[in-house]
């Protein structure tokens, strides 16, 4: 039941629209089937599946709107949910920022977000993925802990202005942490795909084991400013926080890193190194996302940062109407252009530096300068004269992605990474490894 076809979804939504007596109506129908397996201490700890479909109906009278939801789909239930939403709308206060739904939109080609083989993952497949980590770990005096999560889902939207949109998608997210049994080494690998055939859990587990073995008996070096090579997962965490803050309204209101001293925003201004190009593209083959977003807004390919300059800010429909700007769908993916250098190439070109596998527990310190703090984790190495010299103890950093991207040395190859929250979560990104000078590490951590 959880995955309805386009035709099945449209049939239900058409009925919903037909039942409405309000000034207008918008209905969203979503379904999801998910499964997961979690392991630790070289043994499966928990595993489960969940399934749900729900219909949400928003009706409005003028600027008063109400929403009700149901998960039964016979005619009487559909009519009931519409009546409920209408009752709520009549009781609601006026929202001066309410906008009527969009008319039918023209969407680009369908994006390849649904892969049949991913939709067919079984409990046995998940158990084998766990075994791919556990069995080799056991042989090397290592303890594996990991998580595999997969989902298949659909979204459909229809409204009384004639708009209809549908998309279905699949995703799989795999992470594994390998820890040496003497407690001194730890390695981690993350993989995120919408096509399960691209996932090789044996290869990923092997890399995590190698990192664990190499990171044993780390030495302490003094905190300070270092040249760093950030693997794509490390870079993506900080970039995601920067891109997530590209909201036009906050910038206009003066409470964003993109607000300008004295008034106005930094739209059109160069804020980072001119080699930085960040954009969103629903049809990118590595990170495809649906061609429409919330409210049925059409997603398009759009530059966010071009040659280091803020090219676009994200305007919701209300704020766009106030500022006479074009509304923009929130980016479903984030792509940063990279270069040809591999991480190994970048290490060879580094006289003194630090290789960072990932960051952990990143939190905002100052939203005005986009200063964040966090720590390195699961594989941090000192580089000297083009070679990894030895593992080092983890550092706490205090750094702003804006300062970081102004200190860009080299861009490496791109990799698909989760933007957060696994396959059903915050989408995916295509982010390069990068070499940055003067990255600020402010203290040492004993954590392994």
């Amino acid at each position: 039941m959880a995955i309805l076809s386009k035709e099945e979804a449209k049939k239900i939504l058409d009925k919903v629209i037909g039942f409405s007596k309000a000034d207008g109506v918008e209905a969203n129908l979503n379904g999801n089937d998910g499964g997961n397996i979690r392991y630790a201490r070289n043994s499966v700890s928990t595993a489960g599946e969940d399934s749900n479909v729900s219909l949400s109906v928003q009706t409005y009278f003028g600027k008063k709107s109400g929403t009700a939801t149901i998960n039964e789909f016979d005619d009487a239930s559909l009519e009931k949910v519409v009546r409920r939403a209408e009752e709520l709308a009549k009781l609601a206060p006026e929202n001066p920022e309410f906008l009527e739904p969009l008319p039918q939109q023209t969407y680009g080609a369908e994006s390849k977000t649904f892969i049949e083989s991913t939709a067919k993952i079984t409990p046995d497949y998940r158990a084998q993925a766990a075994a791919d980590s556990i069995i080799p770990a056991t042989k090397k005096d290592i303890t594996a802990a990991g998580f595999l999560e997969d989902n298949r889902g659909f979204s459909a939207l229809s409204n009384s202005k004639g708009l209809f949109a549908y998309n279905k998608s699949t995703g799989v997210d795999f992470t594994v942490t390998m820890r040496t049994n003497d407690g001194t080494g730890s390695g981690w690998v993350a993989r995120n795909f919408n096509d399960i055939s691209k996932l090789n859990t044996t290869e990923a587990s092997q890399i995590a084991m190698e990192k664990a073995l190499q990171s044993r008996n780390a030495k302490a070096i003094e905190p300070g400013k270092y040249t760093v090579i950030l693997e794509p997962n490390a870079a993506a965490d900080l970039l995601g926080l920067m891109i997530g803050g590209m909201n036009a309204r906050q910038a206009d209101e003066g409470r964003s890193y993109l607000s300008k001293k004295g008034g106005g925003t930094k739209l059109g201004e160069k804020i980072v190194d001119e080699r930085v190009n960040i954009y969103t593209d629903p049809w990118n083959e590595e990170v495809p996302v649906g061609n429409w977003a919330s409210g049925g807004m059409s997603r398009k390919k759009m530059d966010l940062i071009k040659n280091g300059t803020v090219e676009n800010l994200i305007y919701d429909r209300y704020w766009a109407s106030q500022k006479n700007a074009e509304p923009t769908a929130f980016p479903g993916n984030r792509i940063m252009e990279g270069g040809n250098a591999s991480v190994e190439d970048m290490i060879k070109d580094t006289k003194k530096g630090v290789l960072v596998t990932r960051f952990w527990y990143i939190r905002a310190v100052d939203p005005q300068t986009l200063l964040y703090t966090g720590l390195t984790r699961d594989g941090t190495f000192y580089i000297e004269n083009g070679k990894i010299k030895h593992p080092i103890k983890n550092f706490r950093f205090n750094e702003s992605p804006i300062i970081m991207l102004n200190n860009l040395e080299t861009l490496g190859k791109q990799m698909r990474v989760a933007s957060g929250g696994g396959p059903g979560g915050g989408g995916s990104s295509l982010i390069p490894a990068m070499k940055i000078r003067d990255f600020t590490f402010s203290s040492l951590s004993d954590a392994v």
């Binding site: 928990t46 489960g48 599946e49 939801t69 929202n95 409470r255 704020w319 200063l371 059903g424 979560g425």
Partner: protein
């Protein structure tokens, strides 16, 4: 916590308030929220179907949670109502042990047929995973309680308070903030009601009705000329209480150092919003801190978060054992430290108690989500590590026979696991007020309310900010500071604790959204303390300039 578990309020400023939100929650009208869906006898009948089905398929243990999770959010900014949202999530989660292995499945189909199929899936998953199981699950015993019930002792059910009343209160608070110089203000009231029915193959049938309430706001002051903006969040706490928390009783107000007002068991949101705007303006004009060593005086609405991260998490046994190694991390409080019986976690005056029964706290329930009656127990006694937090399938590894009763799931759709109890620093035994404490500090900083926070995966190295920072010079408050954060090592920090105020200053604060597990789940937890002093802590300056 997963991104999909958050709703970001439209148009909110940086540092926007984020709401934990079940993946399957959906919006419903208020009338629907107040009508029970099933009575306990219907739930028992449905639960018995799962228990019998699982037994017939060879499960050695089964528990069933039929859950109805209700939320209400009323959100406003300045003079506008942004949203009134009621959500309901209803379904069943079934957990089994088959071939010595856990299996779990959940569904929103709470019918005899739906429950039977979900049970079959749970058993099939357990059997599929048992191939790679090295340690069969062993559950510590727990009494069979028969048919019992528990309810948060609320005075006023927030869901029954008219939405109009909530909107008026928030808009009044917003107006006060704007009158006092705020550039922007966002405010909300967030209500939670968990209606949980638990049944196990061991003969317990437990019906619980749990309530939580959280009023909150963020006041922004923007100085366009200098390009600065500062945020002052509400001095409220999320609580395990009803709407009576918003009564703002005079007896619950505390006049604190720095001429500020803090709140204990009830909260005056309108008064606080006015103060917030004034303090945010002072904050912008504050002096940028000189980095170095300071004696810190940390007030309970700040210290709770330091306790949460540096004491609550490392004393969770599942972290110590490595069950969270791939996500939240492990713990520096390894078993050998506990076994030594002399690991000096903190100074002699440092005593921490874990508790699942404290009135008004977020973690308080009658029974946990695997049918264990809740209690309190000591974690750190006279500075020494004496126990952990553990549940039925892990407590045996400590040689203890009874679970601590701290198993929780955020929803019917997620599997339950060990979650943090309320972990609180016990008040000092000597008579001491915050004013008296500050009068003895030569060079220090008094920090109010939680701000930025970050800690490593084994809980050694942390960095915390705050909301208001007051410089202490020769025993007196000497104005407001900005750009302050402190960094420390957990063990060094708690061993630098030299004074704790007495019981009169003890207060609870906490969070709705403590994240842990994969898939990530939220837990609501409170932490109590009185104002405490920490000597010689490293303070950094967080001021930066960007283009």
């Amino acid at each position: 916590m997963k991104r999909r578990d958050f709703i970001h309020l439209a148009g909110m400023g940086s540092g926007a308030m984020a709401l934990p939100f079940s993946a399957f929650a959906h919006e419903v009208e208020i009338g629907q929220l107040l009508t029970p869906l099933l009575d306990t006898s219907q739930k028992k009948q449905l639960a018995d179907i799962a228990l019998n089905t699982a037994k017939s398929l060879g499960a050695s243990y089964t528990d069933v949670r039929i859950g109805r999770y209700l939320n209400q959010f009323v959100t406003t900014r300045e003079k506008k109502v942004q949203g009134v949202t009621n959500t309901e999530s209803f379904g069943v989660g079934i957990r089994v042990i088959a071939n010595g292995t856990w299996g779990f499945a959940a569904s929103n189909s709470v019918t005899p047929d739906g429950i039977k199929k979900t049970t079959e899936r749970a058993v099939a998953i357990a059997k599929a995973n048992s191939k790679f199981q090295r340690e069969p699950v062993k559950l510590a015993g727990t009494p069979s309680y028969g048919e019992v019930s528990w309810k948060t002792p609320i005075v006023k059910n927030g869901f029954e308070v008219p939405v109009k009343e909530k909107i008026e209160l928030l808009l009044n608070a917003n107006a006060k903030a704007m009158e006092n110089g705020a550039s922007f203000v966002n405010s909300l009231i967030f209500l939670v009601n968990e209606q949980k029915y638990f049944a196990s193959s061991e003969g317990s049938y437990i019906d619980q009705d749990v309530h939580r309430t959280w009023p909150n706001f963020q006041v922004n002051v923007v100085d366009r000329q200098s390009g600065q903006f500062k945020t002052r969040s509400a001095f409220s706490a999320p609580v395990g209480m009803g709407y009576e928390y918003l009564d703002g009783k005079a007896g619950d107000k505390i006049k604190a150092p720095g001429d500020i007002i803090l709140y204990n068991k009830s909260y005056d949101i309108v008064e606080d919003a006015a103060m917030a705007a004034q303090q945010a303006k002072q904050f912008i004009a504050g002096k940028s801190v000189e980095p170095g060593k300071y004696d810190l005086v940390l007030e309970p609405s700040h210290l709770w978060l330091t306790i949460h991260e540096s004491v609550g998490h490392p004393t969770e046994l599942d972290r110590v054992l490595g069950y969270e190694a791939n996500y939240a991390g492990t713990s520096f409080l390894t078993m050998d430290k506990w076994q030594s019986k002399n690991f000096k976690f903190g100074s002699d005056i440092v005593n921490f108690v874990a508790d699942k029964t404290q009135p008004g706290s977020l973690g308080s329930v009658g029974y946990d989500d695997e049918g264990v009656k809740c209690k309190s127990w000591e974690l750190i006694k006279d500075g020494v590590l004496v126990n952990y937090q553990a549940i039925r399938d892990q407590i045996g590894m400590l040689g203890q026979k009874e679970s601590h009763g701290c198993c929780y799931s955020q929803s019917w759709s997620d599997v339950q696991f060990q979650r943090m109890a309320n972990v609180s620093l016990q008040a000092g035994k000597k008579s001491l007020t915050p004013e008296q404490l500050i009068s003895n500090v030569e060079k220090g900083i008094y920090i109010v309310k939680d701000g930025s926070f970050s800690i490593d995966q084994q809980r050694y190295n942390f960095q915390f900010g705050g909301v208001l920072f007051f410089e202490i010079k020769n025993g007196k408050i000497a104005g407001m500071l900005k750009d302050v954060a402190y960094q420390a090592n957990t063990q060094e920090f708690w061993n630098s604790c030299t004074e704790i105020c007495d019981e009169r200053d003890y207060r609870l604060s906490g969070a709705f959204n403590d994240g842990k597990g994969q898939p990530s789940q939220s837990n609501a937890v409170s932490h109590g303390s009185a104002t405490a002093r920490f000597n010689g802590v490293n303070v950094i300056n967080t001021g930066r300039t960007i283009l």
